[in-house]
Assembly symmetry: C2
Homo-oligomer: 435 residues x 2
Amino acid sequence: MAKIPPVKGTRDFYPNEMAVRNWITDGWRNASLRNAFVEYDGPIFEHLKLFTEKSGQEIASELFSLTDRGGRDLAIRPEMTPTLARMVNQKINALPRPIKWFSMPRCCRAERPQKGRLREFFQWNIDIIGDDSVLADAEVIYTAIDYLRNVGLTPDDIAVRISSRSLLAALLLDQGFAPDQLQTLYALLDKRPKVSQAVFAEMAAEKIPDATLRDNLMNLQAINSLDQISPLAQSKPAHDALAQLQQLFTYLDLMSVADFCLFDITIVRGLAYYTGPVFEIFDRNASLRAIAAGGRYDNLLAGLGGSQPVTGTGMGMGDVVLGLLLQGKKLINTLTQQLDFFVIDADPDLFQKTLQITAQLRQKGFTAAFSYKRTAVGKQFKQANAANARYALVLGQETTQRNEITLKKLTSPKTQQTTFTLDNFWTTLAANQLP
Amino acid sequence: MAKIPPVKGTRDFYPNEMAVRNWITDGWRNASLRNAFVEYDGPIFEHLKLFTEKSGQEIASELFSLTDRGGRDLAIRPEMTPTLARMVNQKINALPRPIKWFSMPRCCRAERPQKGRLREFFQWNIDIIGDDSVLADAEVIYTAIDYLRNVGLTPDDIAVRISSRSLLAALLLDQGFAPDQLQTLYALLDKRPKVSQAVFAEMAAEKIPDATLRDNLMNLQAINSLDQISPLAQSKPAHDALAQLQQLFTYLDLMSVADFCLFDITIVRGLAYYTGPVFEIFDRNASLRAIAAGGRYDNLLAGLGGSQPVTGTGMGMGDVVLGLLLQGKKLINTLTQQLDFFVIDADPDLFQKTLQITAQLRQKGFTAAFSYKRTAVGKQFKQANAANARYALVLGQETTQRNEITLKKLTSPKTQQTTFTLDNFWTTLAANQLP
């Protein structure tokens, strides 16, 4: 049979790559638990309709879709939010609020693979549902920073760029735009950081024929601090939205993460469903795509089959861009797997004892291994070192006759060696008093 | 929008179900590490051909297959072995041997959901590749038992039913069957435990028209101990295969798990690729499908695109049957998530301090939460208890003015209360000396 390659845009996780993946997901899990989120997950595929209802038919071309034997149209999840909405809506009256949930789903998108974007990835999701206070938004942003700070990233490395969809909407309406223009403007503004000033001006001219309105938009998107907004925020909606955003920054300051955060009016998020604070996390050099993004989505759940309106706010962080950033900063820090004991016999006759002792060590919860080949002691020591064993336990012909065993500490620079009676070895091990 | 249900045969993992799933997979991981296996994983989908090459075109109807934008035929993995073979073959000359790998993949099969069989499941896989010693087979079986024993199952609950494909082949040839009949006989014998004696006799009559041969087969499958085989195993292949199987039982005895193991000649495994010892693990009542199954497959890797023959032996254990068994035995033992601290303020004015202290606790690695609503102290205590907090940290108007904080231990039967200066609290916490 010919060699069959892996599918383009997917990854094979050999033990070294798996250790990195586990280190990332363990970090996500620990940050989630520290901040009092609980874990959930859904199936890898859903009815196709769940995704097209949320994102429109256009999404179908970006999905890996499939048909089951009953002819049902299904798709592998490209993101977690539709599943989250489905699960919350299913039990909306039984779940105590606020719902603070996290998940680390494997997701797939049928996109062209490129730097920072693969067709299969893992995405950390945290969401707080059922609380409309801006405290919940602060907690989501804090939790994302908590993880990133914990792996060693500093405010010199990354920035959380924050804005507010409700503030932007109020300002745009105050500047003379009509409510039905807003979605077009969001999509336009979301492209702003991705194109040149000239291209943006061209796109704006196409979408906003009125020159005065267009100038107003250009002036708005040039704002770079909350202070500059105060004089503009005269209407009640603008004033309230500004006050909410200021409150968010106050909370982030109290939580000692203000130096990671800044206001950035160009953060809009293209998706239609955001209703309040929105944010994206970037490396300071902005050489990569966003590391994470999120915001408040107060109508999303009801829009996805919910029987009642439920507020929500959340965030997603993928492992691919994050991995590139951490690799670039040399912050990936996986522990080499260590073996507690490698059991060595000096004579093939002693092998039965080797096997017994290995099994006994494992039964007591220790990591233990032995050589499958009855080879020279030196070769077995080589295997023990290759396996990164902390101790070698050596069965010699004479010591075994005296019911003794020799312990060699392999991790100390000068190899330390102690001979124990077998009974004494087990007692010393149980008392956690090995050298 | 109408409610969209989950796909039939999949599971939603709400926090309680997720805790069970994590408890199972953590147990698998720990048993694997204790026995010196390292973790790997592959993509959720592969080229369809990888699966049909291993299992034949029939498998296609049991797969969730999909087509990517380039028109390539793909399928969600129904099992891990083809991916394992592909990954090992890709780096066969670079990987140190023996390769001791484990994985816990999510797999999907387009089957009709029924008791113990879902369309999406998790499967623990352990494999030892590149060592042809029966020690490797013993390690695989030991590791499976190590996990099952660790969750509380005893030899009264489960049995590892062991046989040998090479022994069976040798005995069948000695009894007069032709080599090209073997695959038909394996498939026939694999059905033996699943049908009545009468139905089996009928099936045998169809496949083996010769009455003498058929009697020989009936006599063979009635054997129920290794001792009964010795007189039959006269040819060298039968003698060698029997000696190997006896050696396997000796190793399992030395490793103190013999009481979980028994010889069962009806264990054949339907799949073509097994070449040596094979086993299945069942509950003693045999009310469920097999909990786990595995065996030696010495030609599989070369058959799946390998450039050289590589021996292997391994096992798979799914989470669905296992979960039913553990639930039935009341052995599922998930820890309720516990919060270290719930921070409470007696006055809304103190909320800023609440937020600061919560963030400080989290930064020190503790799990901490607070109420999003400024409500009465009693209500906040209720939330703390609902969140299963170990301690409440209470900010009172007067104590806060004196820069003090009150710690209440919520887990002790009689609520214990201590007031600290804030400095003293942080010092005591750092020294791990809280009451």
